[in-house]
């Protein structure tokens, strides 16, 4: 009896199971089909990333552990970590002065551009015709680096505009780009000048987002302009400052064009930076292994500097 009564139930269950299994399979098939369609839609983007990001990155990894002159893909000769060891070997100029110059260049640029842009953005925020001022300060961004570099190079020349002004006030001429002590700071000034426009744009937008009520409350409490700037404006600008700081640092660490136009890395090694050295190693000397290894070292430096900046800002309570 029991068997007789159970038999239809088990048959039903089996049928339900079969039907459920069928449903699962159908759903799974549908999901697979949807996944295929999704991947088909994603394919152009994935292909783009594969061709322009994954492939070059993989090739760069391969080259950084190989010796290759740049001519024949069949001549790529694996050398392990020799290229990295060579960069930091005794007598190599990569760590000092090249990497040191790179960091000083980036640090100097960020410091100058940040200070200048905060000052100018604060002033612009109190002026009429703000759009006009922002446009004026943004002009260097839309000018080619080659033009900027060449104009400044002529201004720095002995007998150029800058020395002309110095001479006019009775001072002697300075060999800005020819003296190893002044060459790097001189190029830093130009890079900061050229990048201050974009920083001003970001900071003026940041200033607009500071609620007016804070300033009104400060005015009621009798706070002066300096106190207002240090206690209200600057802390509330922190998100914008973080963005400017990170992007300017990234630009500074990878800078290449301005230096090749103004000094070609000279005099001696005084303004040689990592990106310029990588370019020379690959395209002039045909040492693609060393160039790729240098690129990864620079990447590590950029990553470390960015993480340190994020950490510093987060410690101050700013969530990037």
């Amino acid at each position: 009896m029991v068997n007789a009564t159970l038999a239809p139930e088990s048959t039903e269950r089996a049928a339900r199971d079969r039907s459920a299994g069928l449903g699962v399979r159908v759903r799974a098939r549908r999901r697979r089909r949807q996944a295929v369609v999704a991947y088909l839609f994603l394919a152009p983007t994935l292909l783009f990333y594969a061709v322009f990001l994954a492939l070059p990155l993989g090739f760069a990894v391969l080259l950084s552990t190989s010796r290759w002159a740049g001519f024949d893909l069949g001549d790529i000769d694996p050398v392990g970590l020799d290229n990295f060891a060579g960069l930091f070997a005794d007598g190599s100029t990569f760590l000092a002065p090249i990497l040191t110059n790179t960091l000083l260049f980036a640090l100097g640029t960020v410091a100058l551009a940040l200070a200048g842009s905060v000052l100018v953005a604060t002033c612009i925020d109190r002026l009429r015709f703000q759009g006009l001022w922002r446009t004026l300060y943004f002009l260097p961004i839309v000018t080619t680096v080659v033009a900027v570099g060449n104009v400044w190079k002529y201004m720095y020349q002995p007998g150029g505009l800058v020395n002309g002004v110095l001479n006019a006030v009775g001072l002697g001429s300075v060999a800005f780009l020819q003296d190893p002590d002044t060459a790097l700071p001189s190029v830093v000034v130009v890079q900061a000048w050229a990048s201050v426009g974009s920083a001003i744009l970001v900071l003026t937008a940041g200033l607009k987002s500071v609620p007016e009520s804070y300033y009104e409350a400060a005015a009621l409490d009798g706070a002066g302009p300096v106190t207002v700037f240090w206690r209200i404006t600057l802390p509330l600008l922190r998100p914008s400052l973080l963005f400017v700081c990170v992007t300017q640092f990234l630009t500074g660490l990878q800078s290449f064009a301005l230096i090749i136009v103004m000094t070609k890395g000279g005099p001696g090694d005084a303004t040689d930076v990592a990106a310029l050295e990588m370019y020379r190693q690959a395209f002039s000397y045909g040492d693609w292994g060393t160039a790729s290894a240098a690129a990864f070292v620079l990447f590590a430096v950029v990553l470390a500097v960015t993480l340190v900046q994020l950490w510093l800002f987060r410690r101050k309570g700013e969530d990037a």
Binding site: G70, G91, P158, L171, Q178, K264, G266, P267, D269, G286
Partner: protein, 433 residues
């Protein structure tokens, strides 16, 4: 064959096919019997007179030859080496290359240049001067026909020398120094009004060219005979570095000034440079060019043996070329066959104010009525020392430039600059072999 295997094969075959299509060999004609072979030639004669000058003989060849045609491709000089690299890596290397001889070691080591066949090597060795043959050779083996040759000599401004009470150009280093100090002038702010002797940081070739011309004149060499180490840390090297440091320290030279503009403006009394500059100076200076004179590079002592630096280009055949015999035949026709007493290449170079390593051709082409300032460069073909072209030569040149600049700006003493150059260049040159 299972479906999965088929898919795997397809997955492997697709990228391979794409790569093969992308990296296919350059078009070499239709390949049908009877159709002409098309040779490609990549040079830096990309614009203006140079482009026209090269196209003339190429058009002549194409009109005269039905079986083999030549097609020129050109890029700016600054992009030339990179273009060689990229095209070669992509399997798109041209049949004929026109490299700067400084790169020859690098190109030979990378297996790009094909050695000249014996009959061509013999012709080159017989017809060209030693400097031209040396520039086109690596490890004693000839790799191409030398084309333009540049020798270095002393340009001087006759008016400035006269104003300083000097009758003519200096012949020795003491005379050079004396003339440099007498002609140099600065204003009260330290701005250089006239450089006595123009040392310049304009670029690698300018900085290093001046120094190597003086080094060769002093009997020294930058790289040892076997090409595996530097030879600059020598009495001759020390003498050159000493001389240059003195000139800068005493205000007779201002390396930061663009010497090419300053000389044309009458703000440099003397400067060492290559022969190509005469054409530019004529165009820039107009009638003032008559005040420009050219003399051999001064020697340390009056009774010294003359020497200077030479640099050059050559035409060679790609190892990847499918038609090397045709390519060499075209090069022989262009560089060795004579028309009205000179080769087509010599006529081409003379037409743009340059020289080839065939001194007899150049004498005939320059004649007696040409620019007398070109003759010192022509004479120098007989005694010039070719720029080193060992593997790693480009990097060695850059390292030398850095050390020279460090010397001129006081970052390094003469001893430090010599030691540092030797250490850095030795390391790079030995690594490149």
């Amino acid at each position: 064959m299972t479906p999965s295997l088929s898919r795997r094969h397809f997955a492997l075959a697709l990228p391979s096919a794409l790569l093969a299509a992308g990296c296919a060999a350059p078009h070499q004609g239709t390949g049908r019997p009877g159709d002409p072979v098309v040779l490609t030639l990549l040079s830096h004669y990309a614009s203006g007179e140079l482009k026209k000058a090269l196209q003339g003989p190429v058009d002549e060849w194409n009109a005269l030859h039905d079986r083999v045609k030549v097609r020129t491709k050109a890029v700016e000089f600054t992009d030339l080496l990179t273009t060689f690299m990229v095209r070669q890596a992509a399997g798109q290397g041209t049949d004929i290359l026109h490299p700067y001889c400084l790169w020859n070691g690098q190109l030979v080591r990378a297996g790009v240049l094909r050695p000249a066949p014996p009959e061509h090597a013999e012709e080159i060795g017989r017809a060209y001067g030693a400097a031209a043959v040396g520039s086109s050779s690596v490890g004693g083996r000839v790799y191409g026909y030398p084309t333009e040759m540049q020798t270095y000599a002393l340009y001087y401004n006759k008016r400035l020398l006269r104003a300083a009470g000097l009758d003519g150009p200096p012949r020795t280093w003491p005379e050079l120094e004396e003339a440099a100090y007498r002609t140099a002038r600065q204003d009260r702010y330290g701005n250089t009004l006239v450089q006595g002797f123009g040392l310049s940081t304009f670029d690698d070739s300018t900085t290093v060219g001046q120094t190597l011309a003086l080094l060769n004149a002093a009997g020294g060499r930058f790289v040892s005979a076997d090409g595996r180490s530097t030879a600059i840390d020598s009495p001759a090297g020390r003498a050159v570095f000493d001389l240059e440091r003195r000139l800068v320290d005493r205000g007779a030279s201002a390396p930061g000034v663009n010497v090419y503009q300053a000389f044309a403006s009458g703000q440099v009394a003397m400067v060492i440079s290559a022969g190509w500059w005469t054409t530019n100076l004529k165009a820039l200076m107009g009638t003032a060019y008559r005040e420009v004179g050219v003399a051999p590079v001064p020697l340390p002592e009056a009774d010294g043996r003359r020497a200077t630096l030479s640099t050059g280009f050559m035409l060679g055949v790609n190892t990847a070329s499918e038609h090397p015999c045709e390519a060499w035949e075209f090069l022989r026709w262009l560089n060795a066959d004579k028309v009205r007493g000179t080769t087509r290449m010599s006529a081409l170079q003379a037409s743009v104010g340059s020289l080839t390593g065939r001194a007899d051709d150049m004498r005939r082409l320059l004649g007696t009525g040409g620019d007398p300032n070109l003759h010192p460069f022509l004479d120098a073909l007989a005694y010039a020392v070719p720029e080193p072209n060992v593997p790693g030569a480009q990097q060695a040149k850059s390292l030398l430039r850095k050390n020279i600049e460090a010397l001129w700006t006081g970052q390094q003493t003469v001893d430090e600059a010599l030691r540092s150059t030797r250490r850095q260049v030795d390391q790079e040159v030995s690594r490149s072999w």
